[in-house]
Amino acid sequence: MSRTLNELKAAIMCSVVIILIAIMNTHGKLNLADAIVGMLMISLVAVISLRIKAAIPLQLPAFAWASLLGLLITTPWCPISGVFLKYTNVVTMAPIGTVILAAAGVSIGTKLDQVKKLSWKIILVSLVVFCGTFFGSAIIAHFILKMQGII
């Protein structure tokens, strides 16, 4: 119980920072009341996903549960999807991304030597990753379209 409470406290503190950054991101045009309701809803789902992970002995990370719950709540077949989307769409992904990377920056703070070791290699490897994904996908699509006689 205390663990759940701490998670909720942390999620709400994160939400406060996210909302502040969202206000800056939208140049003050954010609907504050709706944003607060939306972030509270999201925080609640995030904490529920942590609890599900703790309760169900599958090897599924809480992140997957969070995303799955988000997906299930917002499918057109879910009765609360409209309400949930109305409030949670007020804060976009951009400010959340900024806050995550700021936290990431702090968290690698004691391991800068390891980051330096990556250097140019990571750029080369990343570009190969993009190529591999792009052409892997294109090649499969090409053969299936051919088999279907579409191309």
């Binding site: 990377l101 702090v106 990343s126």
Partner: protein, 291 residues
Amino acid sequence: MSENSININEKPKVVDDLATTGRWSSFIKLFAVIGITSGIGETIGKVTIPVGMGAIIILPMVFAMLIAVALTPDAFGKKISALKSLCGIEEVNLASPIMMIILLILGVKLGASAGPKLPQLIAAGPALVLQEFGNLGTIFIGLPLAMMLGMGREGFGATVSICREDTLGLIGERYGMSSPEGMGTMGTYMVGNLFGTIFFGLLGTLGLLTGLHPYALAMACGVGSATMMTASSQSLAMSVPEMADEIFAFAATSNTFSSVDGLYMTLFIGIPIANTIYKKLSWLTKKGEAK
């Protein structure tokens, strides 16, 4: 100073990495640092540097991260001791679990952006469904290369998928964001943020040289983020203007697919395959290190 010593003494007893008891000062300092650096990032805003046909885009998050790194004990904290009392080891250690919570918030958002699109995906054809497996292509090409370059577990993290936000969440939770795996994923993510648009813009055009059909390439345009999809499908459509409508439709649907299934693809197929290949090829890294 006395506060710090209390925190250090208490630490071994704390099992809960988010416990606030006795650590409120660390929480407040950390959130102040995150808030201020994010705020500076947003104030600088998005910077676009045009390069040829594309552009290098620097998002506010990149500035926020660089400034946050600069404030840590390993960077300017070494020289300016006042910084250490704002952002010390305690705060750095707390940043990891806090980041996990923010990633969960992002996870809910990612799911919520996918849910409304589910019906249209069910109606899509087999080529669009199966090409998603092509996204695993990176593991077979990228991972061996990374290991030949002497990258260890960083290479695993960097090549397990195209490393968008969903992978960041998965790898961050399983291995920790400041682990070698986490740094690899973060590396590919950052390179994608900076150069993704320009590189995918190139792929859209150069892909035609391979002889693959524009429809197939259009589906490939959707593998990454929305901005990558926009850049690559626009340059592809510019090269084959008579198919522009189909290209945009295929690219957008494929992108939607990736945003829905990417997480599960990485979790259930990508991570296990990459781990297997990593074990099989581990002799490569040893050779790389010897050089």
